[in-house]
């Protein structure tokens, strides 16, 4: 019960910072920009509010979102925080438990940002196209948010435990993989953006009408989700 209070404090500490507000601002601008500039014509000819367009939207936004998650982890492992650890680890709480709390706090604070992204996009669709069949977006959300979110959460903790400096390197990784089409295969394609790009090069009408993704892609998403969770689990347990 008291651990819940700790979680509450952690979340509060995360979201009452100016960088959190700034993240919200940047991500909101990005949401608007992607929807209004890049996807107004629809993704590869599909409707601007098709699940495909929504997938592309998420793939783009999620790369910057992952950077935000990584930044949160960088703060967890910052020198300033590390100095408080002296006091914290004299309390009867195991390291894994403590990092679990931290991870959940980051997960929740980040989810709040996600929520803003989703609400903004829904609002945009409703206002601009009068579109409100949001149910069709559930699958895109599952495929394009969960894997990169969990990977950034898991990888952030895992690598942060090993060395904070390497954590910084995840920022260019997510940005470049997410925004620049390197034609990366399966698992390396963290945001799914390369897949969307390639997938449509093999023209196929059925693919466009239905929202069907290839088995390999779904597999890679599953693996990423599991990998993210594993990394998180292992990350919690790594002794510093």
């Amino acid at each position: 019960m008291t651990k819940l209070n700790v979680l509450r404090y952690e979340i509060r500490r995360l979201i009452s910072t100016k960088q959190y507000l700034y993240s919200l601002l940047i991500i909101s601008l990005l949401t608007y920009d992607v929807l209004n500039r890049l996807l107004i014509g629809g993704f590869k000819g599909t409707a601007p509010f098709s699940p495909w367009s929504y997938s592309e939207f998420l793939a783009l936004v999620i790369s910057v979102f992952s950077v935000i998650v990584i930044l949160m982890w960088i703060n967890v492992f910052s020198e300033k925080e590390q100095k408080v650890r002296g006091i914290i680890f004299s309390a009867p709480i195991t390291q894994s438990r403590y990092y679990l709390i931290k991870g959940i706090a980051i997960g929740l604070a980040a989810s709040l940002i996600l929520l803003v992204i989703i609400i903004l996009s829904f609002g945009y669709y409703y206002l601009v196209y009068g579109f409100s069949d949001y149910g069709t977006f559930i699958m895109p959300m599952v495929y394009f948010i969960c894997p990169s979110f969990l990977i950034s959460l898991g990888l952030g903790l895992f690598i942060g435990k090993i060395n904070v400096k390497i954590l910084y390197l995840l920022i260019p990784l997510f940005l470049v993989i997410g925004l620049f089409n390197l034609g990366l295969p399966g698992l390396l394609d963290l945001t799914g953006g390369s897949y969307l790009f390639d997938h449509f090069n093999y023209l196929n009408l059925e693919v466009i009408e239905k929202y069907t993704l290839t088995k390999e892609f779904l597999c890679s998403r599953m693996i990423l989700i599991v990998l993210g969770l594993c990394l998180f689990g292992i990350g919690c347990r790594i002794k510093q």
């Binding site: 100016k18 960088q19 700034y22 993240s23 940047i26 601008l29 990005l30 992607v34 500039r37 890049l38 107004i40 014509g41 629809g42 000819g45 599909t46 409707a47 601007p48 098709s50 783009l60 910057v64 950077v67 935000i68 930044l71 960088i74 703060n75 910052s78 020198e79 300033k80 601009v128 400096k165 910084y168 390197l169 920022i171 260019p172 940005l175 470049v176 925004l179 620049f180 089409n181 390197l182 034609g183 790009f197 090069n201 023209l203 009408l205 466009i208 009408e209």
Partner: protein, 717 residues
């Protein structure tokens, strides 16, 4: 001064003690090497498997280096700048040294580090290139790629992040801002905003870098002023005496040069942005509406006298137009290129006024009364593009490429005589071989300049012009003189593919199936062009083929190689087909009816004759899938929604639709017609259509009349 240098030197030494920095350098170099192979993963599929020469791979390596390096070094900047804050040594340092001095020192030492990284990377790339790619290392190209694309990208990243860091006093916010700007650069198709990778995808091996340098340099100029402006803004807002942002600003502002620099630099950036000199957004090419043609005036003759200054990228023109009309005064319009400034307009030798139509690239001129009027327009300057990726023409040091769409010769919007006579002259440095339309009547050389006189009769007023250091090869096919102009760089490669054999085959096939070539007295010129304009083009009796066509390289996968070759041959066959449909017989556009449909269809028939049905079927199945793709598109199905979009989006959607109609629907309809009538008979009726309308135009109706088909009959299901 000595102290400062020592301070910087110490900082650099300190940098090298950080493991992070070593990793950073290594990663950047790795991506520089990966970038060498960027051609094969570029978004433009047509460029894949292009033969990788020094020029082709140099930009790839610089682009990849910039793409990764900019974020890496942006991040390093933050790590470095907030190091004291993180470690709590800020007060300690500030007691010994003015802090902003330290910031400047750190930025400078980072920049030195970047230069070191790039030089080291260049060395590694040199080794990789000579050993693995086995191509010549052209230092000049690398210096440009690394000096103007790569280095500035990282420099901007460093200046922008440190500026934002000083403003926000928060490392997360600075990194997020960097991410935002990075996103903008990668997704924008406004070349001014591509601060990281710049708009150019590849350099041309054929035309080198000059055609794109002005864009890249202007982009760099814009971002130099922005990033310095942001840095100055940062220095203005740098927190002092633990005060807030506002009070700090008041303190910092007392050093007057800081606010002055902020205002000056940011205004400069605004000015650079708003006075962009290279793009003409009012270009006719971007206009969907048809221009109004004054049918009462008939153009009979054009006498263009043009001088090129390739090293400056400029041209000077004196063009005389001869018109016939009724006695009364008439007002006509000419499509110009807004990059070319008009110095004088004379009607019948008398200077007269002219006026630009607002928001367009057209001018209005009043023609005096009289039945024959001579209009002389003198203009000079650089060609402007409608859009960076829509290259209709450029003049550069070692290549000139001017399509009729660039309106390097202003196009009068009047009726035309059955055959407009063009008698022109171009003057350019002697080392360049000029390839004008029509036939060359005389060549004069004087003081290192050559003047090429040429002559042509045309209905369609397709006046392209091409020049480069070409090697020329001449051979005869079916009574036609074929002149093949290729770059000496690619000559060996192209002839290895037995190009001559295929050209002969294509020309013979068309002659046999459709009829004799219309301009037997003129040579058929096939010219290599740069990759800045992809694909091929046919203008009057000149065909251009971009340098990457046939110029391929494969490591393995032979089926891929074969397939690529078929596509390349088909492209050549398509462009040659335009000599029959387009140049010989003008095809009056009535969407989907146009010369494109016929050219696509004919080239497919040639492929069938040369390589068999299987190949031609595979190639034609592409039309079907692209039609189906278009039909599946949302805005195709909901045309009423298009009006809600921005204008450039509307144009884009309309162009896409038009392209599918011209290049895919029409050929499919012709295939269907062929099926209905039988191949033999259908080709015969096309041949009749050609003969009857030679040097004239043929309409959709005439096609139906000739084939006894109806629109409905050939409409696709």
């Amino acid at each position: 001064m000595r102290d400062r240098v020592e301070l910087i030197w110490n900082e650099v030494k300190l940098l090298f003690k950080l493991k992070m920095v070593i990793v950073l350098i290594l990663l950047t170099i790795i991506f520089m090497i990966i970038g060498l192979g960027a051609v094969n993963s570029s978004d433009n599929y047509a460029l894949h498997n292009m033969r990788q020469t020094s020029r082709i791979i140099a930009l790839g390596s610089a682009r990849y280096g910039a793409l990764f390096g900019s974020v890496l070094f942006g991040m390093m900047t933050i790590i470095l700048l907030n190091r004291d804050q993180r470690k709590g040594s800020k007060d300690l340092i500030e007691a010994n040294l003015e802090y902003y001095q330290l910031i400047i020192v750190r930025i400078i030492s980072l920049i030195l580090l970047v230069i070191g990284t790039i030089l080291l990377g260049m060395l590694v790339v040199f080794i990789v290139q000579t050993w693995i790619y086995q191509t010549v290392f052209e230092l000049r190209i690398y210096l440009f790629s690394y000096g103007v694309v790569f280095f500035p990208a990282i420099l901007f990243a460093i200046l922008l992040t440190s500026g934002v860091y000083l403003i926000t006093d928060n490392s997360d916010m600075s990194l997020l801002s960097l991410a935002g700007l990075y996103f903008l650069s990668l997704t924008s198709n406004n070349y001014l905003l591509n601060w990281v990778q710049t708009h150019a995808l590849l350099y041309s091996d054929f035309a080198s870098i000059r055609p794109v340098t002005s864009f890249i340099l202007y982009n760099r100029l814009f971002w130099v002023s922005i990033s310095l402006g942001v840095l100055a803004l940062g220095l203005l807002f740098k927190r002092r005496y633990q005060r807030g942002i506002y009070e700090s600003m008041l303190i910092n502002g007392q050093k007057l040069f800081i606010p002055l620099a902020v205002v000056g630099l940011l205004c400069l950036a605004l000015l650079i942005y708003s006075h962009e000199p290279l793009i003409n957004s009012a270009d006719s090419a971007l206009n969907i509406e048809e221009p109004v043609i004054n049918e009462r005036v008939i153009l009979t003759k054009i006498l263009p006298d043009i001088t090129f200054y390739p090293d400056k990228g400029e041209m000077k023109a004196v063009v005389n137009y001869i018109f016939c009309k009724e006695l009364a005064e008439e007002r006509i319009e000419l499509i110009t290129n807004t990059g070319l400034q008009i110095t004088s307009v004379k009607v019948n030798g008398l200077p007269t006024g002219f006026e630009y139509l607002k928001g367009t690239d057209r001018i209005q001129v009043d023609l005096a009364d009289g039945e024959q009027v001579e209009l002389e327009v003198t203009y000079e300057g650089r060609i402007k593009y409608p859009h960076v990726s829509t290259v209709a023409g450029y003049i550069s040091e070692n290549s000139i490429y001017l399509l009729e769409q660039s309106h390097w010769i202003f196009e009068p919007l009047t009726a035309r005589d059955e055959q407009v006579e063009i008698i022109g002259a171009v003057t350019l440095p002697a080392e360049l071989t000029a390839v004008p339309v029509g036939e060359i009547t005389a060549i004069k050389e004087e003081a290192g300049q050559k003047t090429w006189e040429y002559m042509l009769k045309t209905r369609s007023l397709e006046l392209g012009f091409f020049a480069a250091e070409y090697t020329q090869k001449i051979f005869n096919v079916a009574g036609i003189e074929v002149q093949l102009f290729t770059s000496p760089r690619h000559e060996a490669y192209l002839f290895q593919k037995d190009l001559e054999h295929y050209i002969t085959g294509i020309v013979e096939y068309y002659t046999q199936v459709i009829g004799e070539y219309a301009f037997l007295d003129q040579p058929l010129k096939i010219v290599e062009s740069s990759l800045y304009k992809t694909g091929g083009h046919s203008t009057a009796n000149v065909i251009t083929i971009a340098e990457y066509v046939f110029n391929r390289e494969f490591t393995n996968s032979t089926s891929m190689e074969e397939w690529r070759f078929y596509q390349d041959i088909e492209l050549l066959a398509h462009e040659i087909a335009h000599q029959w449909w387009g140049s010989g017989v003008e095809v009056t556009v009535n969407t989907p009816w146009s010369s494109e449909g016929l050219a696509c269809y004919m080239s497919n028939k040639y492929m069938e004759a040369e390589f068999g049905e299987e190949v031609s079927f595979m190639l034609s199945s592409y039309w079907e899938s692209s039609v189906r793709l278009m039909q599946g598109k949302y805005y195709y199905q909901h045309p009423n929604q298009v009006g809600l979009l921005k204008k450039d989006m509307q144009t884009q959607i309309a162009t896409e639709k038009l392209k599918t109609e011209l290049y895919s629907i029409m050929p499919l309809q012709l295939l269907k017609a062929e099926k209905i009538l039988g191949k033999e008979q259908f080709l015969q009726s096309l041949a009749r259509l050609y003969k009857q309308n030679l040097f004239q135009s043929v309409s959709y109706q005439e096609f139906f009349a000739e084939t006894n088909l109806t629109k409905e009959a050939i409409t696709l299901d």
